[in-house]
Structure formats: structure tokens, C-alpha cells
Amino acid sequence: MIRFEGVSRSYGDVTAVQDVTLHVPAGELVVLIGPSGSGKTTCLKMINRLIEPTQGRVLVNGRDVAQTDPQSLRRGMGYVIQSVGLFPHLSAKQNIQVVPRLLGWPEHRSAARADELLEAVGLDPASFRDRYPRELSGGQQQRVGVARALAVDPPILLMDEPFGAVDPLTREHLQDEFLELQRRLRKTVVLVTHDMKEAVKMADRICVMNRGRIEQYATPEELLQNPGNRFVRQFVGSDRALTRLSRVVVGDMMLPAATLTLHTPAAQAEQALGEHASMYVSDGGVLVGWIMLQALLESGSVEAGYTALAPHHALSRTESVREALSQMIELGVANLPVIDDTGALVGQLGLEQVVTLTGTEKRPE
């Protein structure tokens, strides 16, 4: 879909991008990551010709962008920037309508599209369409920014640190929502960030850049498992094992959990607890707590001996294993139950499984 062929860009003596060759497959989300000045933003802007390469060429759908009229090229690509860049004198709806209007869509069509997109990014059209950027929070502005980029349903989205300007909580929220949207829309996305966590979470492929060159271009798993060189190893961080865990969700790692119910006879429970160190207790399928053999022996029944467990201490299937690990450390336990939306126990995750995930890593050197 997007192909860099030996692309360089220099400003006088300074080389911003040097001999970059890169292929972004259709429908994938590729993250360009690197420290400031690594050339990632320059690369992004060479795709829509905001910057022209001094050497090499950039192809979109097999066509050299240098041969394409920059304005029509850009109208065919969504563009989201860190500071959002909503036009302050236009309402949310009018901001979304900008490109449709440039393309001469009739008003009713672009207005309908604006509503549809506001809905898609989680903003109620009725209350948000006429608001001005000043009347929106940072996260809402960013959502409108994404909606605006999607206005004419371009196959390609260019995003320059799109979630950089919002607080961490909102950022995670926006990332999740965008991933959800991306799963449905399957756009070809090039996203620039310097946040490794964000890259690992969002990317199908990550391109690590440094001083204008590509250091490594690989899937997040590959990158975390086999950092290609010292720079990449340093850049992904010494906690890369943990970072890898954020790519795996609890649902994929959990094991079935043997359970007792509140009314399991004591003898039967005693036998079961002989095999497991502790067991979860459910009532009508809903997780209520856990019990250890000793507690059962002391109290005489499951109902009297179990320790209640708050639902928010349990894991959900969609949580990352990294979050699960953090939860275990916080609570000081080696095993946590996994529940579904209704509170029903669906499995458990133990420290042993987490360790097997990271243990396959080859030793460096």
C-alpha cells in the first residue's frame, strides 16, 4: 500500500532521513517510533508530500506520490496531528465537513456523514455537532480530530502522535476506542509516537528509527523478543519482558478453574482442596471468594470459611497479562480468578503461566 524506496531527506548538511526502505501493507497499523529527531515525523510527512524526499521515492498504491497532485493526494488520506489542529472557528460538524466540502459533497451528505462519524467516535451528535473546539475537552477534541480524518473514508490514515496531548487515562481510553474502530475499518494506518507502550499496544508492525535510519522493522512480538541491536534493546527498555506481557490478554492465557460452591459438602470440599492449595468459591456461577484447606477445617463448612473477594480484584478476559501481573503484585497473591461481565467465574490465571510467557526469551549474547 505504502512503500518507501531508498528515501532520504536532508536539510543542507543535516540529514533528517537516510535511505529508508519500508513497506506498509494494506490494512495494517504500522507505528514509526524513535527518539526526537529520529526522522519518524519526516517520514510520515513524506507520505502526503508535506515534505518532499531529496532522494528515493514514496509509492502509494504503486504510484510515486511525487507524480500526484499534493492536494488530491492529501484529500485521499486522513491526517491526525498531536495538537489536533481543529479549526477553532468551525463547529465539530463543520470541522468534519472540511474535506467533504473540498471534494464538493452536497451539504446533506456531508452533514449525515458528520453525524455518523461523531457517533462512531463515541460523541452524541445531537449534543456535540454544534460545539466549538473551545467547548470540548482535550479527549473530545481528539475524537473529533479522528472523525475529521475519517470524513471521506480514506483508505489511509496518517497519525502524528495522535494521543500525545491528553492525560494518560484518556489516552488509554482513546487508544482502546481507536483499536476497536480500526478492527472494523481496517485502514492502512501509519502512526508516529515515542511511547513504546502505545506502540506495542497498537501496532501490527513497529518500525524503530534512530538518526534518520531504520533500526528494526518487525512485529511487536518479534521486536520485544529479539531486539535487533543495542539501540533497539535500549529503546524498548529493560522492562521489555513486561511490555511483551501487555500484548497478551488474560483470556488467551487463563486456565480453567476448579470451583467449590457455597453449598459443596465439607467432606467433598476437603478432598478437592487436598489437590489444590486453594480454590475459588462461587454461588450460582457468580464468583464470591476463595478458600484454603485450613480455613475449611477450622470453620467446618465452605460457607463459613471462605474469604470474600471484591469483583474488582478479579481479572477480565480482555485485560492484558501485564495488568494482571500488576494486580497480583498489588494484592500479594500468585493467582487471580477471571470473571466475565456477569461476574461468573470463567477461569484463573497464575504466576506460573505468566512466567512461561516470558521464559522463552533467548538470553542476550
Binding site: N48, R49, L50, I51, E52, T54, D69, P70, Q71, S72, L73, R74, R75, G76, Y79, I81, S83, V84, G85, L86, F87, P88, H89, L90, S91, V98, V99, L102, D124, A126, S127, D130, R131, Y132, P133, R134, E135, R148, L158
Partner: protein, 489 residues
């Protein structure tokens, strides 16, 4: 809206109002000056000597206003406006009554002039009302100044002050006043129109290209440093020469010839829409620079011709002279009014002076457009023109209007010197008044200029408010409830 603990502006205004009345030792502000005729020395009357009771009430009003200015009441703006308006109306009544009394039985040559005390009182009213209005909620502001404006209009229509010197001079000058006022307005209006037509594009060009900015911005500033008299002197010879040598036909031909390269340049540009920095210094660069400079002289010629014609039409429309007619191809430009003296040099000088505020404000407005907005616009595929018209100018508009406002106020004042080069305007009366040592005649020129400037100022402020895009306006109380209301529907 929470008020500051005291309104220093209103306090200052009230103090001035009180000072205009009190007599302490050598401080004896006169209110009216009576002269048996224009030439003799007059005798000054203070407010207390004219109408002691009214003066006392007036003093009370100002002292009350001063007290209110110090009180942290929510109703403060209203009370201040009420007190100042009452003081203003009372002052008018006092002046009208006293004037009638002083001129009773005197010959028509007798003159009663307004003295410092009255001017101070007008200043006090203005300052106090300004303080009140600036603290009032936006939508009530017009209401606060309404009484004073109404009193003013009543004053103008009723003839209550017809015995006053300045009004007698107005009657004396008769049709002259109407004509000079028309010339003044036409000169100011034409210069402003031209300055806007030149200044806004010049500012846009400066914003787009730093090589243009290097010339335009200091150039506009340099013009301001030239004294108007010197500028007039410099313009006489070339304009006279131009008017004599060029016929209307050749002038139009020159203009047309100057436009061809511009069109050629635009067509060339359209052919290759390269805009990245790498492409800017291509082989076309020197050519396009020359092409850009070529139309300057014909452009200036066109501007002068347009200015003279527009000014003539405007003045005729407002009631001075007759509108210019088509002189024929072979006539010299002098026939159109392109001469060394008269409106042409005045228009050129006034236009040049008006450029600076317009250029500078437009440039500042464009610079204040958020970088993110322009980058987003470009990244979304706007052409430079679309970016300018849909993003940059709308966002810069409040400052552009502000520049126009400043230029208007400046120009209305500067037009006063146009009489020096024979272009007429209200400056004529000021000069006549100085020549004849008649202060009232000076005032006949000066007061309308001040009023015009104030009116233009208010109108353009209002226009600026109206044209500010809603998304940019200061957050007002109405914004949030509106958003909430739509959220619940």
C-alpha cells in the same frame, strides 16, 4: 460576573466632573465666555455664577458618582451610568439656559463660547460612562449609553443651543460646512478603502513570503515617520508631471500592460503546484521575482486614478462638487484630478498613513493563527488559497478589523491636514478659525472630527464583534447553558 472592589476609571471621571465645577483660589474653571462681538476680549462665567442651584446639584451628582465608584455593589455600572447621564443632561440644560440669558437682547454678533469647565464635564461624562460600560454585561452596554446619545440627538435637533457661538458659526458658514464635511468623509473613506485594498493583500503576501515582508513591514512603518507636509511637498512635482504628460488612454494602457505579467505568473504557477521548500528555489525563482516587481508602477498609477475617481464620486454623493465624468481618451490625466495639488496628493498621503495599522494588524492576525490549524489544513489537502480563505483569514479577521478601526480613527484625524494641499475637509474651518482668531470656528472644525472618529470607532468595534467567528468569542454565559440544553434534547 464579579466586580472589582472599586472602579478607578469612574472615580477619575467623577473627580474630573467635580473639578470642573469647584472654585478654589486660582482654580476658577469658566463655563461660558461672553463676547459682545468676535473681536473684543470676553468675560468668563463659572457654573456657580451662572446657575448656582443647578451647579450645586451637578456637584452633588458627581460626588455621588465618586462614592458609587468606590462601592462594591453589583448595581454599580447602572448607578454610575444613571448619575453620569443625569449630570450630562443637567449640563446641557444649564448651558442652554445660561446661553439664552447671556445673549438676551444682545446683537447677533455677540458670541457665547463653551469654556474649559464644559469640556471637562463632557470628558468626565465620557470617562465615567466608559468605566460603567466596561463593567456592565455585554448585552446591556448599549442601554447604558442610550440616555446620553438621546440627549445629544435632542440637542442637535431642538436648536436649544442655537445661541451658542459654535452654532452661530455653523450657521454663518452655511453650505460650506456641509461641503467640507462631505470632502472630509470622502477623503477619509477613499483613503481607507484603498489602504485596505492594498494593505490586506500586502500583509498576506508578507505572511507568505519573508522576502516580501522584509520590504513591506519596515516600509509601512517608514511612511509614518514622514511629516505630512513634507510628503505633500514631495508629491507635488511628480503628480503634476504625471497629470500633464499622460493622457487617460495611455494611462489605461500602461495599467493593462502591467497586469499581463501578473496573469502570466498566476497561469505559470497553476501549471506546477509545487510548494515544498525544496521546490521553492527552482529555476523560476528569479523570473517570478522580476514578474512580481513589474506591476508595481502600473499598480500605483491605477491606485492613484481609482483614488481620485472614487473620491470625486463619494464627495459628490455626499454633497460636494459634481461627480467626475468620462473625459475621453485623449485628455490629460489632470482632467480627472491627478494634479500636484488638490485631492490626489492628499489621498496618496492619507492612504500611505493608513497602511501601517492595517498591514501590521493583518500580519499579526495571520501570525496568531495556530500552527496546528494551518498544518491540519494543509495536511487535509487545502490549496494555499483555500487555506487562506477558509482558515487563515477567518481566524485573523478580528485583528484585521481592529487594524481597520485604528486606521479609520487615525485617518479621520489626519484628513484634517488635507486642506494644506487644497483638498478641503474640516481642517478648513480650523485654519479659518486660527486666521481669524475665532475659537468657535476652530471648534466647528474640531468637534465634528472628534465625533466622527468616536462614531467610526464604535461602529467598527461593533462590526468586529459581529464578525468574530462564534468559536473564537470570549466565553459568554450563554455558551454553556446552550450546550447543556442541546445535550438534554
Amino acid at each position: 460576573m464579579s466586580l472589582p472592589p472599586r472602579s478607578l476609571v469612574a472615580l477619575l471621571g467623577s473627580a474630573v466632573g467635580a473639578l470642573a465645577l469647584v472654585e478654589l483660589g486660582p482654580w476658577r474653571p469658566g463655563w461660558l465666555l461672553f463676547k459682545a462681538n468676535r473681536l473684543v476680549l470676553g468675560e468668563a462665567h463659572s457654573a456657580f455664577s451662572l446657575e448656582p442651584l443647578a451647579a450645586l446639584v451637578l456637584l452633588g451628582l458627581w460626588l455621588a458618582a465618586a462614592a458609587v465608584a468606590l462601592a462594591p455593589w453589583r448595581s454599580r455600572p447602572w448607578l454610575l451610568a444613571l448619575l453620569a447621564s443625569a449630570a450630562f443632561v443637567l449640563t446641557l440644560l444649564l448651558v442652554a439656559g445660561a446661553t439664552r440669558e447671556l445673549t438676551q437682547g444682545e446683537p447677533l454678533s455677540a458670541r457665547v463660547s463653551l469654556e474649559g469647565g464644559v469640556w471637562l464635564t463632557l470628558l468626565a461624562t465620557y470617562v465615567t460612562l466608559f468605566g460603567a460600560v466596561s463593567e456592565a454585561p455585554r448585552r446591556f452596554r448599549a442601554l447604558l449609553v442610550a440616555p446620553v446619545l438621546a440627549a445629544f440627538i435632542w440637542l442637535a435637533l431642538s436648536g436649544a443651543l442655537s445661541e451658542l457661538g459654535i452654532v452661530r458659526e455653523l450657521v454663518n458658514q452655511g453650505g460650506d460646512f456641509r461641503a467640507e464635511l462631505a470632502r472630509h468623509l470622502a477623503l477619509s473613506g477613499t483613503s481607507l478603502l484603498l489602504a485596505a485594498l492594498i494593505g490586506v493583500p500586502a500583509a498576506v503576501a508578507s505572511w507568505r513570503s519573508s522576502s516580501v515582508a522584509r520590504w513591506v513591514l519596515p516600509g509601512a512603518g517608514l511612511v509614518q515617520t514622514l511629516p505630512s507636509l513634507a510628503l505633500f511637498g514631495l508629491l507635488i512635482a511628480p503628480l503634476a508631471q504625471l497629470g500633464r504628460t499622460l493622457t487617460v488612454g495611455t494611462a489605461l494602457l500602461v495599467v493593462l500592460a502591467g497586469l499581463v505579467p501578473v496573469v502570466a505568473l498566476l497561469v505559470l504557477r497553476r501549471g506546477r503546484r509545487l510548494e515544498a521548500s525544496g521546490a521553492a528555489a527552482g529555476p523560476w525563482q528569479p523570473v517570478s521575482t522580476v514578474l512580481k516587481l513589474l506591476p508595481v508602477a502600473p499598480g500605483a498609477l491605477l491606485a492613484v486614478m481609482l483614488a481620485v475617481v472614487i473620491n470625486g464620486v463619494l464627495a459628490a454623493f455626499l454633497g460636494a462638487g459634481s461627480a467626475p465624468t468620462w473625459p475621453g481618451w485623449r485628455e490629460p490625466l489632470t482632467v480627472l484630478g491627478v494634479r500636484g495639488i488638490g485631492s490626489a496628493p492628499a489621498l496618496i498621503a492619507l492612504t500611505l498613513y493608513a497602511l501601517l495599522p492595517i498591514v501590521r494588524n493583518t500580519y499579526t492576525g495571520l501570525s496568531s493563527v495556530p500552527k496546528a490549524a494551518t498544518e491540519a489544513g494543509r495536511g487535509m489537502g487545502m490549496s494555499p488559497w483555500q487555506l487562506l480563505l477558509r482558515v487563515e483569514l477567518p481566524l485573523a479577521l478580528p485583528l484585521v478589523i481592529e487594524g481597520l478601526r485604528a486606521a479609520t480613527v487615525l485617518t479621520i484625524g489626519t484628513t484634517t491636514v488635507a486642506y494644506l494641499i487644497g483638498a478641503g475637509g474640516l481642517g478648513v474651518f480650523i485654519q479659518r478659525g486660527i486666521d481669524q482668531v475665532v475659537p468657535d470656528l476652530v471648534l466647528l472644525g474640531a468637534v465634528p472630527i472628534i465625533l466622527l472618529a468616536l462614531i467610526a470607532d464604535a461602529l467598527l468595534r461593533g462590526l468586529g464583534g459581529l464578525l468574530t467567528p462564534r468559536g473564537l468569542r470570549e466565553p459568554q454565559a450563554e455558551v454553556l447553558p446552550r450546550a447543556r440544553a442541546t445535550a438534554t434534547t
